[in-house]
Structures are given as structure tokens and as C-alpha cells.
Amino acid sequence: MKVAVLRFPGTNCEFDTQYAFEKLGHTTELLWHENETLPSDIDLVVVPGGFSYGDYLRSGSIARFSPIMKAVTKFANKGGKVLGICNGFQILTEAGLLPGALKRNNNLHFISKHQHLCVINNNNAFLNQCNEGEVLNIPIAHADGNYYIDEEGFKKIEENGQILLRYSDEEGNPVVVNGSVTSIAGVCNENKNVFGLMPHPERALEALLGSEDGIRMLKGLSA
């Protein structure tokens, strides 16, 4: 599989993301945001974490207008797989490719720690290697991860199985981490080809560093 990893001014997780997909045996290519097209043989686009444009105005609000994002939107609308991690998730919601929005954490803190996540839905091209109800241990590191969606939107994503992950305790019971609606940590679009999550699976690849649960998550995308 060939993976494009996007890079904006202020992105800082692009090398970890490349490392993750290369560890899984894929070829990766870094793409600067000024590119207007994606290579034609790309199977997956990853929008990695960081602080694109210094998080000015709102996280992701300026990056979404980069030339490359037009190509990503076109790719996604044709059914191409897109994954947004952390700032990438924020960019994809700002771009309207994913429902909802990410607000400042309720406690106003930048939260950086290992966090348990419960897999809510595995019937998609992302989490198919995980079991529903399974608890994963993945680091989070964000100030604007408080997922918001209005009631009507929530009903829609819940009924359509678009809620992928929730922050949880070790047993899988939802916990309040940043104030997200029903503790949501990750969602997908209606067509289930665009995925976004605040936690960083690319930082959970080695048991020595605390967890290798990220491997199983990312493996799904090539299954």
C-alpha cells in the first residue's frame, strides 16, 4: 500500500506517522501542503498531528484551505481512504469531511498521557482488526480535543455506526477526559472512508514505550 503523509507548517508528527506505516510494510511519501495534486497511486492519505499554522484562529481552520486539501477532498469524495490524527482530525472536521467540531478541553489544560479507549464500532476499513468493546491503550496529547456535535448530528452518527472510539477506563466504561460529547475520541464520515481520532496510534508501536496497540489500529487500513 502507498501512503501519503501530509505536511503543513507546524506539523510535527509526520515522521512518527511515516515510521508507523513503514513498520507495517507500506511505502510512504511526505507531501508538502502546497502540492495541488496527490500522486495517482496513493491508497491512503494521512493528515498527521501537530500545530498547523500555530493553531491560529481555530485548530485546523487555516490548514484546511491549503492547496493539497482540495485534492484530498476530491480523493475522499471518490471513496479514497483518509485518516486524520489529532490536528489531522481537527483539519478534517474544519474541512467538513467529518461531522462535528473540536473545542478547547473542558479543563483548559493540554492533556498529554496514555489513555484507554474503547472500540465502539469495528465495521469499517479502519478498526476491522480490533474487536468491539476491546480496550486499547493509546497516548493522547491535545488542548482542543473536546468533540462537539449537536443532538441531531449525534443521533445520525450513532445510528449510522460512525462513532468509532470512546475514552474509557481499563474495563471499557466511558470516562470524561476532555469534555467530548459522550466521551467520543474518534468518528468517521457517513461513507466510512474518512476517519478521525484525537489519540495518537503512531505513538503506540513498541511495548518498550508503553503500548503497541497502535499497530493493530493502523493495520486495519491495509486489511
Partner: protein
């Protein structure tokens, strides 16, 4: 002309910064504060004298970039 855009989180969307400031005001003994909302103000200088044209243009700026209408409302004052 100058456009002053105020962007606030929508009613019903919890404003954690406003809540923290409210709590601080309470702690400092300022009684009678019912609610505090924190937003941002964006001041835009425009090279037109046509108020209607300016309003249309700034509204488009708000809808496109300046506000995320999933969570935020905005007001525009032009002078």
C-alpha cells in the same frame, strides 16, 4: 470601512474559558455575575465605502473562515 466581527460559542455550547473566568470572578468576590462568555474580536479594514457590499463580503468571510458555524455564532458591525 472597518468591520468588527465578534465570534462566540453558540448558546448551549459549553464555553470552558468563560466558565473558568466566571469561577475566578466569584472567587474574587464579584457578586451577581450570572454568566461569562469569552469570544474573539476580529477587526478588518476594507478598501470600500459601500456598506452593503462590505456586509456581504464580511458575512462570506465569517461563513468561510472566521467562524466555525458548527459551534460558533458571529456578529458583524461595519463603520
Amino acid at each position: 470601512m472597518t468591520a468588527i466581527v465578534n465570534v462566540f460559542l453558540k448558546e448551549g455550547v459549553l464555553d470552558p474559558q468563560g466558565k473558568a473566568a466566571h469561577h475566578a470572578l466569584d472567587s474574587l468576590g464579584f457578586a451577581g455575575v450570572d454568566d461569562v462568555r469569552i469570544g474573539k474580536q476580529i477587526v478588518i479594514k476594507l478598501d470600500t465605502d459601500d456598506k452593503i457590499k462590505a456586509e456581504v463580503e464580511v458575512k462570506e468571510m465569517c461563513e468561510t473562515l472566521l467562524a466555525n458555524t458548527v459551534i460558533e455564532d458571529y456578529t458583524i458591525e461595519i463603520s
